[in-house]
Every structure is written in structure tokens, then in C-alpha cells.
């Protein structure tokens, strides 16, 4: 079951290639979506957890591998319990923080430290949640009576993730590929299908060039955007108005509204923020698509589990089409297009990973790893998504 050869591109020849098959229907997904939406409204949002579980059950059971379907065995109650635990923690933390502020004053050292600790704790818990959610989902995934599992501690993953993120930010995020690959490795190498352990050692150097290209594009786009904004202000004659506002702010008085065209200023500011959002969302999607395609390729090339090897057909163009398309669909349908975006994503990813080799079912035995009792409540608090 061990790999015979593990360098990227040096796959053993003659391996049979198969793919995950996704045969879900958009109509069925819409049925679950609409039902969840209506019942969530009636039950003050509580039904969301059961709706999400229904959605996963449907999607899992419409993905098959070697002719057998996956099965999702999680329940809405588990998700809900996890959520309640997190709400309880947040509530107690909020009360403790307010009590400290009342006792010592909001600007006292104790209150400021408590405030900082609260922010750090939220970031830390977001990382912990990410890991814990992966464990929940894998332990709730069954294939041929065999479930997945994740070893390792989510709490220690959270600490490592904080450290790697800190290092990355010290390098102005130039070390991001390295940092995210180390974290990805932690998540991959602790994952199991039955007793078969996933194994991946990723090389950040393989994707570093692509990352730098994206980084450079983002910088150029940013400078261009700022230059465009300045030019627009200059040519529209709003420069005087802005100067007046800046001067007034510096002198601590309210701007002279007879000199300032407030409507045009508001429109200009609105355009600026809209442009900034476009830069951040559309710009980064396009600029980093090549990098993300590289990441997908690198992970596929290095990963092996239960003797299976992988190959990615994901391209930058494909990713851009997927993500930009999904964004447009969701935005222009005011969120009602979410099922379409989900359906597109599932078709995209299941169809673009080649799985090389065949899994020997007799040698894949049940895992002994723990199955957590409650579901990803922590992640729910940060990412209340559809799926």
C-alpha cells in the first residue's frame, strides 16, 4: 500500500484512472434549499442545522467512488449542540469582559488586556474550528461501511496556525504559500480513510512563482486603482471640495457645506469603496487563480491515501469561471442562486480530480479514531453557510 514513487510528475505508469462521480440534480438541491429557507424562518433559524444536514446527506449520497456512494451520518442535533456550546462560551466571555470593564473602567489596563485577549481568542478559535469541522465531517462520512477520521489536536493546530499566520504577516504575506502549505500538511497528514492514512509533503517552491505573480498583479491593480481615483477626482473638479473637507477635519470644524458639493462627494466615496471591494474580491480571485490552480495541482501530485494517487486538471481559467460565475449568480439572484453555485462547484471539483489506481476494499479496514459527539459548532459561529 505504500507509494512506490513519490515525486511530483513521477507517477508509476499504467495506473488506472477514475474520478468521483457526482450525479446530484439541481432541482433536488433547490427543493432542500427552499424547504430549509422556509422552515428556518418559521423556527427562528433553528431549522438551519437540520436543513444543512439534509443538504449534506443529499450531496454525499450523490457522490460515488468505485461505484459506491458516500453516506453522511451526521445529524442536525449534533450541529445544534455544538452551536449551543459556542454560544454559551461567547455569552460567558462577553459577560466577564463587561464585568471587568465595569469594575476597572473601560480604559484600564485590565479591560484593555481583556479586550485584546478576546480578539486573540476569536482568531485562535477560528483556526481550531477549521480543524474540528474537518474532523466532524470526515468522521461522519461513510463509504462501504468504512468511515473517515482525523487524528491530532485541534487546540494545538490552532496554536500552530496562529504562529504561521504571524510569521506570514511579518513578511508582508510573502511567506503565505509556505505557511498555508505547512497548515495544509497538518490537516492532510492527520486525515484517515478507515485505517489508511493520508500522506502529503508539499513543496511551497512549486507554487511560489505563481504566488508572486498574483501578489504583483494585486499591487499593480492597487496602484492603478489609486491613480485612477486621483485622476477622476482631479478631472471631475471635486479636488477643491475634498481639500475643504480635509482642511476642516484638520482644524476640527465642520466643512463649509456651501463650498462643498456633498452629493457628488458621497457618490465619489461610494464609487471608491465599490472599486476597493472589486479590487479585493474580483481582483484577488483573478490574480491568484493561477496560484490556486497550482496549489490544487501540488496537493494532488503529492497526496496519497490507501495506495491511491491523484491528478488535478484544475486550471486558472476554470477557477476564474467557477468563482466569478458563482459570485455573479449569487449577487444577481440576491442569494437565491446559492444552490446553483453549490451544484456548479460540486460538478467542477469532482470532475477535475483524477484518482489513479484502485482501492483494494479488503485491505481498507475500519478506523479506530475518535468520533466527536458534537458538530462543528465553532465553525458555525464563524461561517454560517449553506453547506
Amino acid at each position: 500500500m505504500m507509494a512506490t514513487e513519490s515525486s511530483a510528475g513521477g507517477l508509476p505508469a499504467g495506473l488506472e484512472e477514475q474520478r468521483l462521480v457526482y450525479d446530484g440534480r439541481l432541482g433536488a438541491i433547490y427543493g432542500i434549499f427552499i424547504k430549509t429557507l422556509l422552515l428556518a424562518i418559521v423556527t427562528l433559524g433553528i431549522y438551519r442545522f437540520w436543513g444543512k444536514t439534509n443538504m449534506r446527506r443529499y450531496v454525499w449520497s450523490h457522490v460515488s467512488f468505485q461505484g459506491d456512494r458516500l453516506e453522511y451520518t451526521g445529524t442536525g442535533g449534533e450541529l445544534f449542540k455544538g452551536f449551543i456550546i459556542v454560544v454559551g462560551f461567547v455569552f460567558i466571555a462577553g459577560i466577564a469582559r463587561t464585568a471587568l470593564e465595569l469594575a476597572f473602567g473601560s480604559l484600564s489596563a485590565v479591560a484593555v488586556v481583556a479586550q485584546l485577549l478576546f480578539i486573540v481568542a476569536v482568531v485562535y478559535l477560528a483556526f481550531v474550528a477549521h480543524y474540528a469541522a474537518q474532523r466532524y465531517r470526515l468522521t461522519r462520512t461513510l463509504w462501504r461501511g468504512i468511515r473517515g477520521g482525523v487524528s491530532g489536536s485541534a487546540w494545538s493546530y490552532g496554536i500552530k496556525a496562529m504562529l504561521y499566520s504571524l510569521i506570514s504577516s511579518f513578511t508582508f504575506f510573502l511567506a503565505q504559500p509556505w505557511a498555508s502549505f505547512r497548515l495544509l500538511e497538518l490537516r492532510l497528514n492527520n486525515s484517515y480513510l478507515g485505517d489508511a492514512k493520508a500522506l502529503a509533503s508539499l513543496q511551497a517552491s512549486e507554487v511560489f512563482g505563481r504566488y508572486i505573480a498574483g501578489y504583483g498583479i494585486m499591487l499593480v491593480l492597487f496602484v492603478g486603482f489609486i491613480a485612477l481615483a486621483i485622476l477622476a477626482v482631479g478631472s471631475s473638479g471635486l479636488a477643491q471640495d475634498f481639500l475643504e473637507i480635509i482642511q476642516a477635519t484638520a482644524e476640527g470644524r465642520t466643512p463649509d457645506t456651501t463650498q462643498v458639493d456633498m452629493t457628488s462627494i458621497a457618490i465619489a466615496l461610494g464609487l471608491f469603496y465599490a472599486g476597493f471591494a472589486v479590487w479585493g474580491i474580483l481582483g484577488s480571485t483573478i490574480a491568484f487563480a493561477w496560484y490556486w490552480a497550482g496549489v490544487a495541482g501540488e496537493v494532488a501530485a503529492r497526496l496519497e491515501v490507501a495506495g491511491l494517487r491523484f491528478r488535478s486538471d484544475i486550471t486558472a481559467g476554470g477557477l476564474i469561471g467557477l468563482y466569478i460565475g458563482n459570485m455573479l449568480i449569487v449577487v444577481f439572484t440576491l442569494g437565491l442562486g446559492l444552490p446553483i453555485a453549490l451544484h456548479r462547484s460540486l460538478r467542477f471539483f469532482t470532475g477535475r480530480y483524477g484518482i489513479l489506481g484502485r482501492l483494494d476494499p479488503d485491505r481498507l479496514t475500519q478506523t479506530t479514531l475518535d468520533r466527536p459527539r458534537t458538530g462543528e459548532g465553532l465553525l458555525e459561529a464563524f461561517d454560517p453557510g449553506l453547506f
Binding site: 423556527t43 427562528l44 459577560i95 463587561t98 475500519q366
Partner: protein, 385 residues
């Protein structure tokens, strides 16, 4: 590498390996026996505990498991095995409806629970706030009230003469000898408004206008007893807790509140009618316990309502019938006078005998609109800015 059971025939996965066993079904009373092609027993399932996990709409397989959540799975296709099982468990095909009903019931229970909790919080918060306010140490009120007191003292002249201060402090100590928490401070602000304020942290502020309008020291004592009762009954803290409960429990939880906002709330929120009546009654009790005349507050309220009926808009907003409020008070005149004539004269002249003070400046910085009435209706402004 090859499974003995090709797809489209009944298969059993034992939950130990991913091996697909060809499955042959046999029945004995109350049990389903799953055997492999060679007749070896793979599993013995109690019939009542069998559930349908899913139905594969593409290949028609029915996926079955036990209700105990264990991993073994039985895949059944159209044929004698499936038909026999469905004869033994005829209600199995309704699994989708049952599952949907179970989900809905669970969500409805939790949703109903959430609604009940919300209703309990909304309606029960008043009583809970009394308990919660009681748990918060009185010392914690100090920074909130202190900040408001300092703001007011910075914006207005604080009147002070040795004799008047002694008289006031002595009066408060006599009226409220057992008030817990930080030491009580009592100060007179040179503002031409008929107003008095009790701030968290045991600060009482009298406005000069009130001293000008009072016709006896007993009326001032009545007002002081009313304000001291607010403090003794934790009304400022109850107001804060209640306000957070009604509108902003979420903001406290998610970090939206800070001390400044709390102080603002504490200062601008009028007390509820129940709290005012409670303070009225308790004030009379305090006066009686101190052996003082207890009719001062009632007579002051009556005078105010009679002489200036149109000038009390704030008061009217929280107390629709001031006369009734005065009438509800016990007007026991048997006790001692609050101050001797000399001390009363000193107190009245605490801001200077002939100085009109800030008569024209009554509108800008005023704290909580007191139920005791006030000169200017426009002065709703918040003290903390």
C-alpha cells in the same frame, strides 16, 4: 482487488473492511440473518431495529443499517430478499416521510424552546434585573456614576459653604444611615432647574432651582429621601441591567457596549413608574425611621403641580397624574423638622444670597430627567457627551 459481489446484487459491508460480501437474506422470528454466498453467517439483525439510510435513485439500491448508528450497511436491490424484508417491515418504505417528520419535530421543539426562552427573557427580565443588580457589588457603580458626576461638576458651579455642606451631609446621614457601598456624596449645582439626581456610586446632586422653590427643609428632606431610596434600592444599576436586557443583551455579548455608553444609558433613562413609586414609599419609610416629618415630598409635589402645572413635561411623561402620586404618599407630619431655621437659611444661600447664578443657562447640560420636576422641558440632553 475484485469484490465477489458485483453491483446490482444484494451486498453487505460489515463495517470492518470495505469488502463487499454477496448477501443472502434469511429470516427467523424477529431477526434478519445475512449470510454470504457460501452460507456463512455475516450478521444477525433484529428486525425492529433495521432502518433505511438512503435510497439510490440511480441504481435503485436500498441502503439499510441498524438504528444504533453502527457502520455495517446492507445494500438491497429489487428481488426476493428486498420483497421479504418489506413484508416483515411494511412501514419501511415510508422512511422519507418519517425522517422529515422527525427532523421537523426536533427543529420545532428547539424553535419553540428558543421562542419560550426569548419570551422568558423579554417578560422576566424585569424581575431578573433586580436580582442581577443585587449581585453586582456597589463598588462597581463608582466609575460609571463618578464620570457623570465629574462631567456635571465641570459644566456647572458646585456650590459649597462649610455650614450648608455640614447641614446637608448631616441630613443625608440621618435619612439613609445604612446605605451600602461607596460613601454618599451630596452636592448642590448652581443650575436654575427644579431637579435632583441620584447617580450610581452613591452620588446625589441637588439643583439650586429646587432649593429656591422648596418652602421648607422638610420638602428638601423628602426629595433627598426619595433620591437616597433610588440608591438604596439599586435603581440606577437596575436601570442599566434592564436596559441591556430589553434592547441590548446582544451588544454586551458581542462587545458593542463600553462604559461611556453604559453611563449614557444610566443617565438618560427615566426610571419606570414602578421604581418611582417604590422610591416614594421607601423615602417616607426612611424619614419615619429617622424620626423626621414624612410629609415633605408630598407637599413639595403638590406645590409643584399647583403652581406650575404646565412646566413639567418630563415629569408628566413618566407620571401622568402627579396629584395622585402625592396623594398616594403617607403624609405623616408628626416627626421633627429636618433642619433648624439657621441651617435651612444657610442651605438656601449655599450658592450666594442674591446671585441669580446661571438662571439663563438651564437648557444645556442636564442629567436624568428627574421625576421631581424641572424648570425646562427642553433639557433632555445627555450629560455625557
Amino acid at each position: 482487488m475484485t469484490d465477489p459481489a458485483p453491483p446490482q446484487t444484494d451486498r453487505f459491508f460489515d463495517g470492518r473492511t470495505a469488502h463487499a460480501h454477496a448477501a443472502v437474506l434469511k429470516f427467523e422470528p424477529g431477526k434478519l440473518l445475512i449470510e454470504d454466498a457460501g452460507g456463512d453467517l455475516l450478521a444477525r439483525w433484529p428486525l425492529p431495529e433495521i432502518r433505511i439510510v438512503d435510497e439510490n435513485l440511480v441504481n435503485g439500491a436500498l441502503v439499510l443499517a441498524l438504528t444504533d448508528g453502527t457502520a455495517p450497511r446492507l445494500h438491497l436491490f429489487e428481488g426476493p430478499g428486498k420483497a421479504a424484508l418489506l413484508r416483515a417491515r411494511p412501514e419501511l418504505p415510508r422512511w422519507r416521510a418519517q425522517q422529515a417528520w422527525r427532523n421537523l419535530r426536533q427543529a420545532a421543539i428547539w424553535g419553540g424552546g428558543a421562542l419560550a426562552l426569548a419570551a422568558l427573557l423579554y417578560f422576566g427580565w424585569r424581575d431578573a434585573s433586580i436580582a442581577v443588580a443585587g449581585w453586582i457589588p456597589r463598588e462597581w457603580e463608582a466609575p460609571i456614576g463618578g464620570a457623570i458626576r465629574d462631567e456635571l461638576a465641570a459644566a456647572h458651579r458646585v456650590c459649597s459653604t462649610a455650614e450648608a455642606d455640614t447641614a446637608l451631609a448631616g441630613l443625608v446621614a440621618r435619612i439613609a444611615p445604612r446605605l451600602g457601598g461607596p460613601p454618599v456624596t451630596i452636592e448642590v449645582l448652581d443650575v436654575d432647574q427644579v431637579n435632583a439626581v441620584a447617580l450610581p456610586g452613591n452620588h446625589i446632586l441637588l439643583f439650586r432651582g429646587l432649593l429656591d422653590r422648596a418652602s421648607s427643609p422638610d420638602q428638601v428632606a423628602g426629595v433627598l429621601a426619595h433620591e437616597a431610596s433610588h440608591l438604596e434600592l439599586r435603581h440606577p444599576m437596575r436601570g442599566i441591567v434592564q436596559q441591556l436586557g430589553v434592547g441590548a443583551v446582544l451588544s454586551i455579548v458581542f462587545g458593542g457596549s463600553d462604559l461611556g455608553a453604559l453611563g449614557q444609558l444610566a443617565a438618560t433613562l427615566p426610571y419606570s413608574r414602578a421604581m418611582e413609586s417604590e422610591a416614594d414609599r421607601h423615602g417616607v419609610e426612611l424619614l419615619k425611621a429617622a424620626g423626621l416629618r414624612a410629609d415633605g415630598l408630598a407637599s413639595f409635589l403638590t406645590v409643584m403641580a399647583e403652581t406650575d402645572p404646565g412646566g413639567l413635561p418630563e415629569w408628566l411623561s413618566t407620571h401622568r397624574d402627579p396629584q395622585a402620586r402625592a396623594a398616594a404618599l403617607d403624609a405623616d407630619a408628626s416627626g421633627e423638622a429636618a433642619l433648624d431655621p439657621a441651617a435651612w437659611r444657610e442651605l438656601r444661600e449655599i450658592c450666594g444670597a442674591d446671585d441669580p447664578g446661571e438662571a439663563g443657562d438651564s437648557g444645556d447640560r442636564v442629567a436624568r430627567p428627574s421625576s421631581l420636576g424641572r424648570g425646562e422641558g427642553s433639557a433632555v440632553g445627555a450629560p455625557v457627551e
